[in-house]
Structure formats: structure tokens, C-alpha cells
Point group: C2
Chain length 337, copies 2
């Protein structure tokens, strides 16, 4: 089916090879309407309501990093996948795959972190599973979380409602999570420490929905970063996106570390940010509602949906040039979530 005969780390990057795996293997086999929408959550009509259902496995290395840990990440990530689908997150599952020999105290710390994160977002972890594999058959601890939410009646999020003239808003600085994990893993000792943005966004997104603003679509720019998320939004038949480099919020530490290491921050994973596509009329209102929340205090309008450059994401650079920003190819930072 694909050109690769073996699975590579890039197949798990969230970028081009992940999309190839999904479109060439999973979609043709698990063929159904809900899956084919490829949104962050499957949307399932059920007894007159719309259920959102999502899954993610977490294999982040190391398990603890500045600003979070695998437990906080697993709970936040799944909550965010529900929230960006316009759903109120309600129930989570937790499936643990543990390497034999893991310190019990470490597992306790992760479980307490999951508990606190879930409680903070008013979500219950209602079902679970534990598997243990022999030493050397896993790397300490992997966690899968699935989530169920109910889609808010007031939303009608769909890429098909996006049109030229709409605005792109990002809820804050990009690149923090990926570089926080990398710094910890490689013991870079960068000072001040880069903190992961890992956090549940359901509260902030709930306020956005309640405002009645004309939101067309939302997505959280995790694996593959902002660049990959925007490439998932553009439409080859209808529209492209132009973003302004100077408008994209970024912490100085992230900017500096990216320059030193040669990473492009547009491709670095975020775990506490949302990208909103909205009608131009409501863009400022949305940005301001986001800014009222601590998790959205650095929100910015970063670009436009345009009729030119259909299917493409273009970046207007600070020095006045324009370059095409493609989907992530390969995997610059494996095991970031």
C-alpha cells in the first residue's frame, strides 16, 4: 500500500507519513463516515445528541518535564481533542502499559497528576486497564486515554464552512511543549527552563462557544505543530492560508533554542494551544475572549484564509518574503507526546 516496507519513527510524527498511513491503510479498512472526517474526535449521532469520541496514546520521553508529565499530558490531550470538536468533555478512560520494574512511587505520581488535571477540567476517569510487559519491552510507561464528550448544540464546526476572508487565530505562544520535552530529554540545561504549555483547554474553549462568536473550525496544533495543523485545514479546491511571521506569538527561549538547534518552531508540538478559524467580523472578539483566560493571554490573529494559493500555507516573513510552509516531513522530534 505505501512505499515504505517498514514502519519508521516518521510514521508517528503527525506529519506526511502519518497521513499516508491513515489515508492508505486505516481509512480504506476501517471505512465509515465518522472516521473519514479525520477530525480530532469522531462525531457520532446518538439518540438526538452528538457524541464526540477520541483516542490518543502517550509515549512521551521523559515521563516528567518542566510544566507537566505524561499523566497531565494524557488527560489534557484527550480533553483538548474533544474541546476543539466543540464538545464538553465528560468521561475519560485510562489504559496503562507498564514496563516491569517501574517504581511504584513514579506510577503514583503520574496517577495523582492525572487525577488533578481531570478534576480541574471537571472530567471523570471512569474506566481503566493495566498491562505489564517484561523489562525491555516498553520504555517505563505508556498511557492511552480515550474521551467522550457531548457536542454543544450552539456549535457547527466544519472545515466546509471555511471561506476566503476568514481569520486564523492562535491562542498563544507556539513551540513550548516540544522544546520543553526536548530540553529535559537531552539535558540541555537551557536557562530559564522552557515550560511545556500542556493544559486542558475545555474551560477556555467553552467560554468561546458560549460567546456565540462565529467560529468555523478549531484544532489543537500538537504533533507536527502549527504548520501541519494549517496544512490540514487548507483545501486544494477552495482556499489557502497566509500567515504573518511577525504576528505568531513565541517565547524568547523557544525562539533562541530553535535558532541554536536549527528547528523550525512552526513544526514544534504544542499541548495547550488552539487554532481557531473564524469569520473576520468576530476575529477580534474571539482573540479578546481568549486573552481573558490565563491560558490564552498571548492570543493573536495570525493570518487569513485566501482564495489564492489554494491548498497551500504561505508564510509572510518578517523581512518581507513569502514562503510555502509544507506539512511536516520526517520527524524532527520523536516521542514528544
Amino acid at each position: 500500500m505505501t512505499n515504505n516496507t517498514k514502519i519508521t519513527l516518521a510514521h508517528g510524527s503527525g506529519g506526511k507519513l502519518t497521513h499516508e498511513l491513515v489515508s492508505q491503510l486505516f481509512l480504506p479498512n476501517f471505512n465509515n463516515v465518522a472516521l473519514s472526517q479525520l477530525s480530532d474526535s469522531a462525531l457520532l449521532p446518538l439518540n438526538g445528541m452528538k457524541l464526540a469520541f477520541t483516542t490518543d496514546s502517550y509515549v512521551v520521553k521523559p515521563l516528567f518535564f518542566p510544566g507537566g508529565d505524561i499523566g497531565k499530558l494524557a488527560v489534557s490531550g484527550t480533553i483538548n481533542d474533544l474541546a476543539v470538536a466543540g464538545a464538553r468533555p465528560m468521561f475519560l478512560s485510562a489504559g496503562f502499559i507498564i514496563e516491569e520494574g517501574l517504581e511504584m512511587s513514579l506510577l503514583e505520581k503520574v496517577v495523582r497528576s492525572m487525577k488533578e488535571t481531570a478534576a480541574g477540567a471537571c472530567v471523570d476517569i471512569v474506566t481503566g486497564d493495566t498491562k505489564v510487559v517484561e523489562k525491555g519491552s516498553a520504555d517505563k510507561l505508556y498511557i492511552n486515554t480515550c474521551g467522550i464528550g457531548i457536542v454543544d448544540d450552539r456549535t457547527n464546526l466544519s472545515p466546509s464552512s471555511i471561506e476566503a476572508g476568514d481569520k486564523i487565530i492562535v491562542s498563544g505562544t507556539i513551540g513550548d511543549h516540544g522544546l520543553a520535552v526536548l530540553s529535559e530529554r537531552e539535558s540541555l540545561g537551557f536557562n530559564p527552563l522552557i515550560q511545556s504549555d500542556c493544559a486542558p483547554l475545555s474551560g477556555m474553549i467553552g467560554k468561546l462557544i458560549a460567546s456565540g462568536a462565529n467560529i468555523k473550525f478549531m484544532r489543537d496544533p500538537t504533533r507536527g505543530g502549527l504548520a501541519t495543523t494549517l496544512n490540514e485545514i487548507v483545501n486544494p479546491q477552495k482556499y489557502g492560508i497566509v500567515i504573518e511571521e511577525q504576528s505568531i506569538p513565541m517565547n524568547d527561549g523557544v525562539r533562541a533554542l530553535c535558532e541554536i538547534l536549527g528547528y523550525d518552531p512552526l513544526y514544534i508540538a504544542n499541548e495547550g494551544k488552539v487554532v481557531v478559524v473564524a469569520s473576520a467580523d468576530d476575529a477580534v472578539k474571539i482573540r479578546d475572549i481568549l486573552r481573558e483566560d490565563d491560558l490564552g493571554k498571548d492570543a493573536e490573529i495570525i493570518g487569513n484564509v485566501v482564495e489564492d494559493a489554494r491548498g497551500k500555507v504561505c508564510l509572510k516573513t518578517v523581512i518581507g518574503g513569502t514562503r510555502i510552509v509544507d506539512m511536516l516531513m520526517g520527524d524532527q522530534l520523536p516521542r514528544i507526546c
Copy 2:
């Protein structure tokens, strides 16, 4: 919290140490009504209906074994957890953790097997996730499946409805799955091959529910086997269970291999069997409905709920003795599912 400072393989056995982990770590932290029932699925009231929600990770080794593979197992196991909760399985998620270097053709084979098993049970796989870890950080492939079902209004399954005089019915031979996986893993070359019973039971259980028979409780005797499942059912305040060794259906190959290797078949995992607790009046009817289905053709009434021996499971042996059958301690067969 527990006496162990490190996680051992036995913590994933489904036996005593798994229960200790759940009761001492997960329950006190993820404290909520749905979880505290510790049933195969969480039961969640939602808009006037009752949702069943369950998760399981699969780490079976090897990935392919006589009668099944990790894909068929992952889909069947989660379907069965919903079905024994009285729910009609509807939607599944699939989360893959893949070791770098896995043959693409092998992944394709597993995905096709998942597709066929899901289609056979009229269930859609609606959402998924893929993570890839470096060579040596997993053992080829782990799969998590979560499932959502709707609980049938006609059922009212609860351990609290069980009373002395009720009957225990098992839908067929025990021990097949565990020994099939073991034989393949250890290349025992036992002839004829022992086939795993791995299969989705939702069709057969659906017929049972539709019959209106007075079913009190159901559970699938997976990790920890029939012995552990029955120990989960007994109640220290109210009742015990007595089972008759000679009534327990077992294939000759399983019996012979257990004798050779010194395993107790009561503790061997099954992946296509259901244990039903029912009122005595309906026990024969239930057994006969099960027998009409190919997956239940060897169904037997194997014992009684009794007021004596509260909280205990007793086995009346073929030679006329009685012994107490405890929950699985340790883990005789790791990575069986």
C-alpha cells in the same frame, strides 16, 4: 500504598496484585461512582439512556497465534466487555503503539483482521491514533481499543441481584486462548494445535438478552481465568459459589497440556467465553440458547450460588473432594492478551 515498591508482571495478571493496584491506587485517585463499580464497562447515564464505556490495551506475544491475532483479539475483547455489561457495542477506537522497524505488511494483516472482526460484529472503528517508538522501546505492536455501547433497556445486570440458589453457566470450553498463545510462543508444536477461542460474543449475548431470561450478571473470564472471574463475583457478606469440576467444559488438548505443564485450567485466560449468573428457573433455557450459537455450543451449567462459604469459590472435584479456588496470585502466563 502497596507493599511492592516496583511494578511486577503479576500486577498485570488480572489477579490479586492487579486488584490491589486498582483498589489502592486507581480507585482512591480516580474516585467516582462509575469506576467504583469495577465492572467490565463503566455505565454512564446520559440523556435518558445508559452508555457503556470500556478500555483495554493488548500486548499479546506473539502477535499471531492459532485462532487469532492481536487485531482480532483487540476488537473482540472490547466488544465482549461491552456485551457482558448488557450493552450493544457500537463504536470502537484503535490506538496503535508501534516499534520502529515493524514490517508494514504485518501491520496491514493486523488492520485487516480488525476490520473483519469489527464488521462481523456490526461495529465501526471510528477514531484512532498511531505512535511509533524507537527499536527496543516496545515489542513490535501494542493496540488499545476503547468501546462505546448502549445498554439494553431489558437488562438489569448487577452483582447485587445475585442470591443463593442462582446458577452459574459457562458458554463453552475453558483455557483455549491462554494455551493457544503459550503453545505458539514457546513453539511447543503440540498436535493437534490448540485454537484460541478469541471471538466477539455480542451476537450470542444479544440473543440471550432478547430471550427475556432472568440474567443476573455476566462477565467474560479473560485474564486470571474462570477462577478469578468467579472470585470477583462472590460476596463476603452474602454468598459463595460452588462449581462441579466434572461439569466444566474443556478440550482434551487443553486438559492434556495443563497436566504436562502443571497449569490449572481454571486460571487460564479465555477470550470468547461468557460466565452467566442466572436464576435457577432460567438456567436450562439460557444454556440451550447459548448452545444454539456456534460460539456457545459447549455451554454448561457448572455450579450454584450458595449461602455457605460466603466470599469463597469452592470446587467439587471429580474424585469427590472439595477445595477452595482462590483468585490468581502471581502470573503464570504473562502477555496473554
